[in-house]
Amino acid sequence: MNYGFQFGVVWDNIPELLEGAWLTLQLGCFAFAGGSLIGLLFATIKTYGAWPLRFLVDCYVIFITNTPALIQIYFLYFGLPEVGIRWSNEACLLIGLTMNAGAYLTLILRAGFLSVRVTEIEASQTLGMSLIQQVRYIILPHIAKSIYPALANFFIVVLVMGTSVGALIGVDELTGQAINLSTVNYRWLEYFTVVAGMYVVLTFIASIGLALLGRWAFRVKARIF
């Protein structure tokens, strides 16, 4: 194989790659946060809403979870300008990812909702709690522990798989930077190997952070109840 590896070039571009990693992290967090709000709203609708609303939510979830995130983002990226909306690349990615995450998070949160015993909900209803209060004080704390692993795992998915799609529409997150730099230096294998390593490190840090957060959050909750 006549291909001389030159990792030195990559070393010179570490600042750009780190910028990309930082953008990846930001995008992942915002998309996950936004998606969680959507997921919470839709899971609540699916549990308590009237059937037309539930049907709409189902359509949304089924459609999003059976089509590629890339296509959803392309739809926004190529389609929105036609109706006069001109969002930046990053905005398209973020909105697309958020909507995508929202659908999957609806499923995760709904599973959590279903695991709460009916008696607890009835009790809170007799206490005169509004729907929002019920969700906030009874359901969420109860399911936080059981769905936390699924949520943490999905965050990693969004962080790694979700944000990297942005590279295909010109967003300079980690994968995007790798492509940018490679087209200049033609050191594709070196850049991508290093970037792969950076993703692994990033996810390990995120996993550890999430594990610590889980432990801290649980301890707080345990004290209250």
Partner: protein, 237 residues
């Protein structure tokens, strides 16, 4: 809106639809090939990962590292790595092959964990009974463990393959003529983005949704105890 309406007859023309149909077939073919081969290799990986003995420690570590690393890298990065690695070695490898290899590598990492979970769900007492009778590790795995692990492995494995249909969209980046690639092509030709990608989304939906329903049905069927399921098919020794 009017623009879209006027494009529709041209868009849904014969040649376009044929291209899309072929592309859909290619998407399915890639997914199926990649996932099947990946699934088979994953079994080997998990088997190797469980080789006993101190001498096998490096082997076990390699297996564990592979899975942990490839589960944490985005698929697009894997695709690029495979692309440039293969092209450095064999410049005329077909893009389809490269895509399938990338899918394979990725599928091995994800299915390995599914398989391992299934194998670990078989009670160790079954293994001890087999050991007491001097069954070899290979025989124990094939005759005792796998048949019992299968109902635990199959549903998530199938679900993974079905969901991978969506991930193949990223392969469009290297020029394989699958659905997303054709979509970008049609968009470049001037068709409305909303129309094109809406239709492509629908194509993916039509591939993915029925298969995922099938997967859920299979999951329910595999949940019935073996006695009830097999009482009609009795195999004699």
């Amino acid at each position: 809106m009017e623009r879209i309406l006027e494009q529709i007859p041209r868009f849904f023309s014969g040649p376009n639809m044929t291209l899309l149909l072929e592309a859909a077939g290619l998407t399915l073919a890639m997914t199926l090939t990649g996932c099947l081969i990946g699934f088979g290799l994953a079994f080997v990986l998990v088997y190797l990962r469980q080789t006993p003995g101190m001498w096998a420690l490096p082997l076990r570590w390699i297996c564990i590292t592979y899975v942990e690393v490839f589960r944490r890298i985005p698929f697009i990065v894997v695709i690029y790595l495979v692309l440039f690695f293969i092209q450095a070695v064999t410049p005329d490898a077909s893009l389809f092959t490269i895509a399938v290899i990338a899918i394979c590598l990725y599928a091995v990492a994800y299915t390995a964990d599914i398989i391992r979970g299934g194998i670990e769900s078989v009670p160790i007492t079954q293994v001890e009974a087999a050991q007491s009778m001097n069954l070899s590790r290979l025989q124990t795995n094939i005759r005792i463990i796998l048949p019992q692990a299968w109902p635990v492995i199959a549903p998530p494995a199938i679900a993974f393959a079905v969901s991978f249909i969506k991930d193949t969209a990223l392969v469009s980046q290297v020029g394989v003529f699958e659905l997303t690639f054709r979509g970008k092509e049609l968009n470049n030709q001037g068709y409305s983005g909303l129309l094109v990608f809406g239709t492509i989304a629908l194509c993916y939906f039509l591939l993915s949704f029925p298969l995922s329903i099938l997967g859920q049905y299979l999951e329910k069927r595999l949940a019935t105890p073996r006695g009830e399921r097999r009482s009609r098919k009795i195999r004699h020794p």
